[in-house]
Each structure stands twice: as C-alpha cells, then as structure tokens.
C-alpha cells in the first residue's frame, strides 16, 4: 500500500517505523529537513520536504496514486486542509487526520464529511488518552484496559501480587476458583526472559504482568484472582488542567470526587467555569504543602497530566511518597518510559495510544481493532474470518488446529452478539471476529496470510 504521512514528529515517525516494517511504500512529508534526514537514515522510506497542504508537495510525495494520506502535523488546520487538497486534486481514497482542538471535534459530525472537510477518520489524541485513563480508573488494579467489540470484550493487563488466590499456582485452577467466570490468559510478561504463552500448567509468579481477556462484567473477578483488588476509587487528583486534564475531570466528576491542580490562575478560572463538581486548585502538583493540604494521603488516584514529562514524573513520585495510592503519569518521551521505577504505577504514552488507533485503519484486510502494547513490541488485534471451510484456512477449524505462529494466542471470538472465550474446542465460523494476541509484532503478516481467503473463494 502506498501511504503518505504528513508530519515527522513523534507520532508520524513511530507510525512510519511500524508501517515500513510491514512492506508498505511510505512517504513522509515535513518542513524540517533535519528531522526527515534522521528518519531516512533509520528507515526504508521516502521523504519529501515541504508544506504538507501544498498541492505541489503532495504531488511530489506521490499523491497521484497514493492509497492513503495520514496527516499528523502539529497543526490541525494543515492536517484538515491537506486532506481537503488531497481529496479535491488527487481523489485520495482514505484520508486520516489528527485533530486536537475540541472546538473542531465537538462539531465533528457536521464538519468532517465529503461536502465539507473530506476526512475519513479523525484521530483525537487527547480524547483517546482521556478515554484510556478513564478506563484505568474505572477498573481498579489494571495497568491497561483495551476494548474490543465496542467494549463488550476487554483485554486487561494486571500485575500479579503475592497474596492473590491464583498467584503461585497453576492457571487452570482459575476455573475451579470461579466456575461462572470465563476468561483466558493471553500472555504473561516476566521481568526476565521472553514473554510466556501460557498453558493450563503455567504457574503465575508475583510481579508477572498478566494479560487476560474477559467479558466486561468479569474483569473485576479475574483481577481479584491476581491481586487484592483495590476498592473502587473515589478520590481523584489531577495535576495539570490542560485539554486532557479538563476533559478527564469533566467526565469523572459525576462519579468521583475530583480535584484539579492548575498553575495558571486564568486557566483556573476557565476551568472552574467549565467544571461543575470538581474543585479547581490554583498551584502546582509539585508543592508538597498544597498536596498535603488537599489530603494527598487519602487520594486514590493521582494523575500527572501536564505537558512537561519531567514535571509529571517528579510530581508523581512526590505524590506517591506522600501517600497517593496509585499514580498515572503522562509521558511523551518514550525514552523515559523505560526509566520509570516502582513509584509510577502506570505510564501513559499519547503516541502509543494514537498509533494503536491509527494502525487499525492502516492495516489491510479485516482488522477492526489494533492495540499496540508494551511500547510496540506486542499487539492485540481483532480480525474477521471470511470465506468457508474450502476457501479459508481458518473457518471450520478448531482453535487448537489453527496453524498459528508460536507467539500468537487466540483470546476470544465474537459471534454476532455472543462472546466466546477461546478454548481449544471452539470451532471458527464464517464472519467471526477473532481477537488475537501477538507477543511478537513481526508475526502480523503470518497471521494476515492465515486469515486471507484463498483463490477458491473468488
């Protein structure tokens, strides 16, 4: 597939990296020559220097026969205009644009259609991050919560803690502990060594990062097997009242007691007008006095969401020391993500989340959801099985008979409205949505090949 990516920033660059691995023709457009040069040295891509919205730039980037345009420059306006130009001049089939401003997003139904601004897919990183954090808060104890099938099935990452009923025991005992609850552990990541594709006899050890798949209503029960589940959260403190902080507070304030700390007084006033139930505090998240005064030791979740990574990390560590039960930290620089230690419970990377959401649209075939995990090393995908027993290598097969690469597990199957947790005796039917977990992302093409419909079908 021929793909043009506008903007060689963090998202653009990482996306190019992901996609170049998958045998696509990638062209990256940016106005900064140095950035492009660095990218080209690293990856097998083409780069074009220029303003992404200019027709001439798009032309030299090969817009004439491009299959897809992904506009992820820093400017919403350039992104939208580029999509419009590409549609008008080059009839580019798929146009994806990142739009940050909530002003545009709140009117998206009217704005983004072929008569107005022809954008096929809108990616709003702030919205994605907000939803992500909201899920983490709604599911106490989880490190990551990923939706499939519109949220009916979830993939949840939990750190096992000594004392959880299943910790130190074999996985197959889960069934005995909870006969009603159906779940499947997709993978276990241990601090040392390769990821483990679990079997019934696999023993869960403390500090294991366990990925399991279950229906939405069973998440809490399964989490309770792996650790003492935190009580449902009540008190949330958010440091940083930018877009993400404000939207998050607005969505949480009906159910939780929310405090927002913001440094700029003017912004505080705007926030206090905007928010109904939250308490808006003027100050900084790295003032111990303020944190203590606002009862940090009774806070269930502290979210550091300023636009400064260093501040976020430091104030999260401070909050944790002062007694916050759990901290969620926004970290943009992926290099930092590897550095963080015990104090920070969950690090959120906006790029990672944005890329996951972009990938679902870029991947060919019938992939309807992609979640990039563990900083891109692993992936969880939802794809549709087509054809019949004759044309497909998947349909009509029992799950244990599928010729999947060793690093891939089937987590669940969505058949119509039914959720089937993948046990070995389940038989795949046509139009099933299959949720797969890949501990090694490079195996994606093997999986796609397996699910592709043979010539007999056509």
């Amino acid at each position: 597939m021929k793909i043009i990516i506008l903007g060689a920033g963090q998202v653009g660059g990482t996306l190019a990296e992901h996609l170049a691995d998958e045998q696509n023709d990638i062209t990256v457009v940016d106005e900064r020559a140095a950035t492009l040069k660095r990218l080209q040295e690293r990856l097998d891509i083409r780069t074009v220097l220029g303003n992404g919205a200019h027709p001439s730039t798009l032309m030299s980037a090969g817009a004439n026969d491009a299959d897809m345009l992904i506009a992820v420059t820093d400017s919403d306006e350039i992104n939208m205009l580029a999509c419009s130009v590409a549609f008008t001049l080059f009839r580019t089939p798929t146009k994806i644009s990142r739009v940050r401003s909530t002003d545009y997003l709140s009117e998206h139904a009217a704005l983004f259609k072929s008569g107005a601004i022809p954008v096929d897919v809108i990616i709003g990183p702030e919205q994605l991050v907000t939803r992500n954090i909201e899920q983490l808060i709604a599911n106490p104890g989880s490190l990551q919560v990923l939706d499939f099938a519109d949220g009916r099935i979830r993939l949840v990452a939990v750190k096992a803690v000594a004392g959880g009923p299943i910790v130190g025991r074999e996985l197959q005992e889960i069934r005995e502990h909870m006969p009603r609850v159906d779940t499947r552990v997709a993978a276990i990541f241990r601090r040392l060594g390769d990821p483990i594709i679990p079997e019934g006899s696999t023993v869960v050890e403390p500090d294991d990062e366990v990925f399991f798949i279950a229906a939405r209503e069973h998440i809490r029960d399964v989490t309770a097997e792996l650790r003492d589940v935190d009580k449902p959260y009540h008190r949330i403190m958010i440091a940083g009242g930018g877009n993400i902080g404000a939207t998050l507070a607005g969505r949480l304030e009906k159910q939780y007691q929310v405090k927002v700390i913001e440094r700029s007084y003017d912004r505080c006033r705007t926030l206090s007008d905007l928010l109904e139930g939250s308490i808006v505090l003027h100050g900084s998240g790295n003032e111990p006095m303020l944190l203590r005064q606002e009862n940090i030791e009774n806070t269930d979740v502290f979210c550091a969401l300023t636009d400064n990574d260093e501040s976020n990390i430091m104030m999260s560590m401070l909050a944790k020391r002062l007694g916050a039960k759990k901290v969620i930290t926004l970290i943009t620089n992926s290099a930092y993500a590897d550095l963080i230690g015990e104090e920070i419970d969950i690090a959120i990377s906006p790029q990672q989340i944005t890329i996951s959401s972009l990938l679902a649209h870029v991947r060919r075939g019938d992939i309807s959801a992609v979640h990039s995990l563990r900083r891109g090393a692993a992936e969880a995908i939802e794809l549709t099985a087509h054809g019949d027993a004759r044309s497909s290598k998947v349909v009509g097969q029992r799950l244990d008979a599928l010729k999947l690469p060793s690093s891939v597990t089937v987590g669940a199957i969505l058949r119509g409205d039914d959720v089937l947790i993948a046990h070995s005796n389940v038989v795949v039917e046509a139009n099933d949505h299959v949720i797969l977990f890949l501990t090694d992302r490079t195996q994606i093409s093997a999986v796609e090949k397996l699910f592709a419909v043979g010539f007999g079908f056509i």
Binding site: Y265, R269, S272, D273, E276, I279, L281, G283, Q293, E294
Partner: protein, 482 residues
C-alpha cells in the same frame, strides 16, 4: 439632567393614570352611591395636572439618560401616590386625613396592601373597585420596573438581568426595547388576571369580588373588599386558587413569557431562582402546617389549608389573611414575617429583597465555607451554570446592607413615635417588604398609627418598592450636579 423630559413623561403618566378613576366614576354614577364627585374631582385634578406638565414640554424629544431614569422611576410612584389619594381624601364616608389617604394610595400602588380603612364591607362598590385597581396598576408598573428598568440602572446586582444585546455604548440609554418588552409582559399580566378572576368565580366568588380579588392577587397586593380579607369565604377552593395564583405571580414574568413562547414548563425547572423559591416555600409550608398541628392551634384540614395559604400569602408578600395569624404561636408569625424579607422572584410583582439575592448570598456563604477548606481553590459562584461576576455579588451585598440599615432606621424612628416594639417591628417589615398586615396594633389596619408614623411607613413602602437605591440616589448631591 433634563427636567423637561422627566416632566413630559410624568405628565403623560398622569394623563394615563387619570383614566384609572373612570371605571369607579362610572360605577358610582350607575349605582348612585353619592360619591361620584370624589372620583370626578380626582379625575379632573389628575388630568389637569398631567396636561399642565405635558403641554409645555411636549416638543422635547431626547433620549433619557440614566439619571432621568432614576428620577422618573422614583417620581412615578410618588406623584401617582399623591394624586391617587385625592378621591380617597374627598370621599366623606371615609373621613380620612390627607396623610391617611396618601398612605392608603401608596400602599395600593406599591402593592403593599396595608390599609387604614375599616368597615370595608359597608363601603360603596365604586370605592372598593378603585382600591383594587390601584394595586393592579401598581403591579404593571412593578413588572416594567423590574424587568426593563432596574436591570438597566444596575441596582443591587440587577445588571445580571440586563439584556445581553445592550451593546457597549458609553452612556447607556433606555432603549425602545423597553416598549416591546413591556407590551409582552403586560399581555401576560392581563392573561393571569383574567385566568385568576375566572378561577375565583368558578370557585364561588361573586363576579365583582372575583374581579377585585384577581386584581390584588396577581399584583401580589393584598387589598380585599372585606374586612376579614379572604377569611370572609369558607370555601377551601377559593384559598387554593388564591395560593396558586399568588405563587404564579411571585415567579419572574420574564420566565412566564419564555414558557409561553416555547410552550414548555421546563424553563421553570431549569431556573435556579424559581427552584430555590419553591424549595423555601415548600419547607416553610411544612414547618407551618406541622406546628399548627402539633400545637393543636387548628384541626387537621384547617391546619393544612390555612397553613399553606398563609405561608404563601405572607412569604410572597401578598398579605391576604384568613385567620388572625398574629395570635398563632409567636414563632409562626415571626417566621412568616422573616420569609417576607425574601419575597418573590426578580421580575415578579412580589416585594421583599427577592429570592435571587437571597440565593446569591446563600451561595456566597457556601462558597466561603468551601474556600476555608481549600484555601488554594478557585471557586466560582455560579447561577444557572454561569459564573456570577464579583461586581454583581458585591452589589447584592451592599443592597442587603443598605436595605437592613434603612429597615433599622425606620424601625427606630417608628419606636420614637411611641409605637410598641412588636408593632413597630412588624409594621416596618410589612411595609418595607410590601407585605401588608403586621402584628400587634397593626395586625388588622394601620388606622391607629400616628400621622408621622404613617409618613414613615409611606417612605418604607416606597423604599422597598424602588429597591432602596433608586430612592436613595436622589438624595445624593452628586445626582443633582451637572
């Protein structure tokens, strides 16, 4: 200052006002009750004065500025109060001193409902109709004042209600918008009056009484055609009809307008002032009824009906009575008098300090408490999900302070006229909040109050009705300076 313009307007108002005496004159001639001369003289004098003021100034055509607005507004009630007193003063049966007549007239026009006349049942119908009509006309004036003029003058936080489209012009003018707003509001006022009269009639009043009481109910006035007020009637239906219309009239007429325009009752639920007002009334009703029951002052049914009616009547500052509530356990009359400090909503015919101001003061208190707990918090004071500007809050606070100060001053002055403590207190509460009946000596009528006392109470009524500042501003030297 443009006296010419102010005189012209007052002249026009007087000419219009003179027509208020025509229905009574007509009724008097038809029924031959012998007092037609009183109305004829009143009509003639008012009309003549009006023409005298209007004629020399009729060619003036300038927009009013803010100062003229204050002057005209204050003069409106004072001048009309004086001329309205003429027929009452002349009527021989009443035998009123000029001061007493003025008191009665101002009490009518400010929709207070305090009276100096006894033996109402024996008076000619023409005179009774005239008193009711005074209240009804006063009611219109109040609505226009509250919705169109006070917001523009920005009194006591009323700039909250200023029309958004006023524009940034430097010298704010009273725009022609007032005319159209006033027309719409007059329509609603008329509609409510007709509905109220029909309901009273259906509930069992005579047509004459139904109309008269409709006038004073919708105006939140409280004048009645009987000495016993609504206690004259036994039917509970009448009391319920009355309570309902008092509540209606105590809600912002602007809201009624919007509700009619959009044909939905949801605007009431979404308005925090109305919600607050209804909540307070409900709580007060529950307290009143249960206390009447537990102290066995009244039986079960009477406790509920009269408790509800009396609470609504006093709290909305109407001042209809069924029972002599001054002999109820002392807590209740005092509670109800205190409630009258709140009065109706902004933009209604009700008196008092208005529910909106009390609500803002209450929220400010809550805000202050939260601020103590979170010293660094930025906590806005919100009304209907919108931030209320600090200037508005401080205006409301100063309104409260000045209102209370004036209250205490008039009370002290009244004590100096040898009125007893509780009578003086309740008399000032009842007049300043435009309520009507008080306690002690003034629980029935104000005839026994001294002449000086009556004048003081006239001042209190005008102050309450003109939201204190409109009247006080006339006494500042800077106002008269060019």
């Amino acid at each position: 200052m443009q006296f010419a313009m102010a005189f012209k307007i007052i002249g026009v108002l007087l000419i219009l006002f003179s027509s208020a005496m025509l229905p009574s004159l007509l009724l008097s001639v038809i029924s031959q009750d012998g007092i037609e001369s009183a109305f004829a003289i009143g009509f003639g004098a008012t009309l003549a004065a009006g023409i005298l003021l209007w004629l020399p100034n009729r060619l003036h055509r300038r927009d009013l500025n803010i100062r003229d607005g204050f002057l005209v507004t204050a003069l409106f009630w004072i001048v009309l109060g004086l001329f309205g007193a003429i027929p009452l003063w002349i009527t021989p049966q009443l035998n009123l001193s000029p001061v007493a007549a003025i008191f009665e007239s101002i009490s009518g026009l400010t929709t207070t409902g305090a009276t100096v006349i006894t033996g109402l049942d024996a008076l000619p119908q023409s005179l009774l109709l005239y008193r009711q009509l005074l209240q009804w006309l006063g009611g219109i004036g109040i609505i226009v004042l509250a919705v169109a003029i006070l917001p523009m003058l920005g009194i006591g936080g009323m700039q909250l209600y200023r029309a958004e489209s006023a524009g940034p012009s430097k010298d704010r003018k009273l725009t022609p918008r007032i005319t159209s707003t006033a027309k719409a509001l007059f329509g609603i006022y008329l509609l409510l009056t007709v509905a109220c009269a029909l309901s009273y009639f259906a509930a069992g009043m005579s047509p004459f009484d139904a109309l008269c009481h409709a006038f004073s109910t919708v105006a939140i006035g409280g004048f009645s055609t009987h000495d016993a007020s609504l206690g004259h009637y036994d039917e509970h239906a009448i009391l319920l009809v009355s309570s309902l219309f008092m509540l209606f009239s105590a809600i912002n007429f602007g809201l009624h307008f919007v509700a009619l325009q959009r044909r939905t009752a949801r605007v009431y639920a979404r308005d925090s002032e109305t919600a607050f007002f209804i909540t307070v009334i409900t709580l007060a009703t529950v307290v009143t009824c249960s206390l009447l029951l537990t102290t066995e002052t009244l039986g079960l049914e009477d406790s509920l009906i009269h408790g509800f009616f009396q609470t609504v009547s006093i709290a909305t500052t109407t001042g209809f009575t069924t029972q002599d509530f001054s002999i109820w356990p002392l807590f209740l009359p005092i509670l109800l008098l205190m409630l009258s400090f709140m009065g109706g909503c902004v933009g209604s015919t009700g008196g008092g300090m208005k529910a909106m101001r009390i609500l803002l003061i209450f929220r400010q208190g809550v805000r202050e408490l939260r601020q103590l707990l979170h010293p660094n918090a930025v906590i806005p004071l919100k009304l209907d999900a919108r931030r209320v500007q600090t200037e508005v809050i401080s205006a409301v606070w100063s309104f409260f302070a000045v209102y209370m100060f004036c209250f205490v001053m008039i009370w002290l002055a009244l004590l100096a006229t040898n009125l007893d403590f509780i009578s003086a207190f309740s008399a000032v509460v009842a007049t300043m909040n435009n309520l009507g009946p008080g306690l002690g000596e003034v629980s029935g009528d104000y005839g026994s109050v001294s002449e000086v006392g009556k004048l003081l109470l006239c001042l209190a009524m005008l102050m309450g009705r003109l939201e204190v500042f409109t009247l006080l501003v006339l006494f500042t030297p800077a106002f008269w300076r060019h």
